[in-house]
Amino acid sequence: MSEVDNSWERTRNGLLWVAIPLILGILISTLIPKPIIGVIRLEDAIYSYTAQNMIKQIQYAIKHPEVRAVVLVFDSPGGTVVDTEAVYMELTRLREKKPVVTAVNGMAASGAYYLSVNTDYIYAKPSSMVGNIGVIGYLPPSPFVIEDIITTGPYKLWGAPRDSDMRQVEMIKQGFFQAVELGRGEKLTAGPETIYSGQIWSGIDAKRLGIADELGTETDAYNKAAQLAKVANYQTEDLAALAGVNTSGFLFFIQSPDGMSLPYPNKAGVFMLYIPPLPVK
């Protein structure tokens, strides 16, 4: 065999056993997705529209394997009980598969905190407002008859006796309190008389009380999520864009005649909602 033939043979073997597998390996490796830390933002109250948006994003994260963890970014006073519970239950499904981390920006109060306790780690800013654990309800008026409204029962118009509504609120409270105990457990450093007083704390106090885990930024939350998901060199993606949801909301709060949004819900009901004092005029 000539030297030329040998050289060709080596080249051919090199291509066959090295270059082609390498190229193939590189091509195949691209099938391994770059891990995504999905971000779900809630910068509104929790009500039917925002809750549905969150649920769609959570479902997207569950279905898509490249989404390795999720970070919830909150600036929310909470909202209606049923919508908060709906998101809470979907979050449970997500957490069974992937880690979820909370980053509190301005506020994670009441219902928003209810969701936070169903995550693996909570970051807050030093001056974030965190807590306000509890339920608030507007009792219906004492029943009376209106000439022009015909109903088939005494509570058809009013929903429930006032006393029953009060007791329902107490029942809903039990779910919230148990969720906090399950979510935070031994991390809490204060007793129930403090934790469940309905107080809202700064991020600093929240950390001290075990309401939050750490003071940190959104980036810290991404890194924590990546750490829990055991991924590196990840990219963050806004799940609203990936799931194709429109985040522009409807009006949940009462609008004053001059267009100012007041901190009160525009219809009566039972809420996991923080209602702050009105701003100084």
């Binding site: 073997n13 066959l16 056993w17 090295v18 082609i20 597998p21 390498l22 193939l24 390996g25 590189i26 195949i28 490796s29 691209t30 391994i32 997705p33 770059k34 891990p35 390795r68 809470y88 239950m89 449970t92 957490r95 069974e96 598969k97 992937k98 880690p99 169903n118 006796p161 006393d163 029953s164 009060m166 007791r167 329902q168 609120v169 107490e170 029942m171 039990q174 779910g175 148990q178 969720a179 399950l182 129930p192 008389e193 469940y196 007083s197 829990l228 998901a229 055991k230 991924v231 590196a232 060199n233 990840y234 004092p277 009105l278 701003p279 100084v280 005029k281």
Partner: protein, 479 residues
């Protein structure tokens, strides 16, 4: 052999970028712990503590007291909210009457057995405070019911912050005289409550007729109430805290009673409303409250005039000194009309009444029929120009009427004495007017001006002739 190693090498090279990329992105397999969620199905709304076996005394004592209900201090309640209490009062023969005209207050308090004020928003005036203090001193009962949930909301014009103006300040304007204060707070208990932290359970009670038969009572959003000299009626447990400082104070409770037992104050009245009036022993408490307000027995004195008689019939007795002239009959008919306005009939009798309510009319002549009264009140009639009383000293007999009031278990007797038939008629007219405002009035004796007095300066008190010596004329220069 060569080929096998080449295949192995190719495989390694194939896997290398895959592993490299995998390791670049993925550093292990995350371990997701099982997520625990609340056991929603195990939760239940707290049951209302309906008490079907509340021991409410059906055989209630029938008392005919009148209970004044404050309706003048912007009271924040509806009548149907206190229906359970007003019904209990009416079942006992009591009658509710509105206090809506301050000019009639003093008059109304003379015959009322109790005064109730529910969630007042306007402070009591100084006159009202004095009237009610005297009322309680006479034995009348005062019940003040406030409520931490009744507030007028104002907005601060500078900050815009909402300000709640409750009923405690207004209630305290009345209660401070009785050493009771309602605090501007609410009591709560997060550990042991009735359905909500602000629904406070009371299981410790001050020993009193108001708490008789109580084992457990719930107040629904109550101010804390305290009294240093009086008694805390409803004491919260150690976990009952005040919103003012989130602390427990054993000196505070949900209700208090004044030292003399005539004034009770509650920090809540929601317990009177349905359905809360049927929870725990609240019905028994309401029953006790009705007994409390109707058991007020004012000591009847002349200051309660004209509400000084207990019975529906008053016997009128004229002593032998008094002639039934046309003018006197006319005056007596006026008295009859006046008493009928108070649902009292008069009945003339020829003998001095020994029992029952009576009016005895006589002159100042010391006849036997009135001797027992004059002796009892230490009045000396004599036959001079003055009559002597221990209460007012010597009083001129001309143009003066003397009113004596003898209250006893057998009946209340009003004795009217004057000098002349004209003065007697005039005195009957004063009594018929329903007011002793023209008289000096004590608890059991009044002296009234009923005519024109005589010229006492020209007469000695012992009836001796005055030495009317004419002064000697002063000499003048003209002589």
């Amino acid at each position: 052999m060569m080929k096998r190693s080449s295949i192995f090498t190719a495989l390694l090279i194939l896997l290398l970028p895959i592993f490299a990329r995998g390791l670049w992105f993925y550093r292990g397999v995350p371990q997701q712990a099982e997520v625990a969620t609340p056991d929603f199905e195990s939760f239940a709304a707290p049951e209302p503590p309906i008490n079907d076996s509340a021991e409410v005394n059906d055989a209630t004592l029938q008392t005919n007291g009148i209970v004044l209900l404050d309706n003048i201090h912007l009271n924040q309640f509806n009548l149907n909210e206190i229906d359970s209490l007003t019904s209990a009062i009416q079942e006992r023969g009591g009658r509710m009457e509105n206090y809506a005209d301050s000019s009639m207050f003093e008059h109304q308090l003379k015959y009322a057995s109790a005064f109730i004020s529910v969630s007042p928003s306007v402070p009591f005036s100084r006159t009202e405070q004095q009237s009610l203090r005297k009322f309680a001193e006479r034995g009348g009962r005062i019940l003040v019911l406030t409520d931490a949930t009744r507030n007028f909301i104002y907005y601060d014009p500078v900050s815009g912050n909402p300000l709640a103006y409750g009923d405690s300040d207004s209630a305290n304007s009345l209660l401070s005289a009785f050493d009771i204060s309602i605090n501007s707070d609410y009591l709560y208990n997060t550990e042991n409550n009735e359905g909500n932290f602000r629904n406070v359970i009371f299981e410790e009670f001050g020993k009193n007729e108001l708490t008789f038969g109580l084992k457990e009572v719930v107040l629904y959003g109550t101010h804390s109430v305290e009294s240093l000299s009086g008694m805390i009626l409803l004491r919260g447990s150690g976990t009952t805290l005040s919103s003012a400082n989130d602390a427990h104070a054993s000196s505070q409770g949900g209700a208090a009673l004044s030292e003399d037992g005539n004034v009770a104050a509650f920090g809540d009245f929601t317990f009177l409303t349905s359905p809360y009036n049927s929870f725990t022993d609240n019905a028994t408490l309401i029953s006790n409250l009705a007994d409390f307000v109707l058991s007020g027995q004012q000591n009847t004195t002349l200051q309660s005039f004209p509400f000084i008689f207990k019975e529906k019939t008053v016997q009128v007795f004229l002593t032998s000194e008094v002639l039934k002239t046309t003018e006197l009959v006319s005056a007596l008919s006026g008295l009859q009309t006046s008493l009928r306005a108070m649902d009292i009939e008069i009945e003339f009798t020829d003998a001095r009444p020994r029992s029952g309510d009576a009016i005895v009319i006589s002159s100042f002549a010391p006849v036997d029929e009135i001797e027992s009264y004059t002796r009892k009140f230490d009045v000396t009639l004599g036959d001079g120009n003055f009559i002597t009383t221990t209460e007012y000293g010597d009083v001129g007999r001309f143009g003066t009427g003397l009113v004596l009031f003898d209250a006893s278990d057998k009946g209340n007797t009003l004795v009217l004495l004057a000098d002349t038939p004209e003065d007697i008629i005039s005195l009957i007219g004063v009594i018929s007017s329903g007011s002793l405002s023209a008289c000096l009035t004590g608890e059991s004796m009044a002296v009234c001006s009923v005519g024109v007095g005589g010229d006492y300066s020209s007469e000695s008190t012992d009836g001796a002739a005055t030495d009317e010596t004419t002064p000697e004329a002063t000499p003048t220069p003209s002589g």
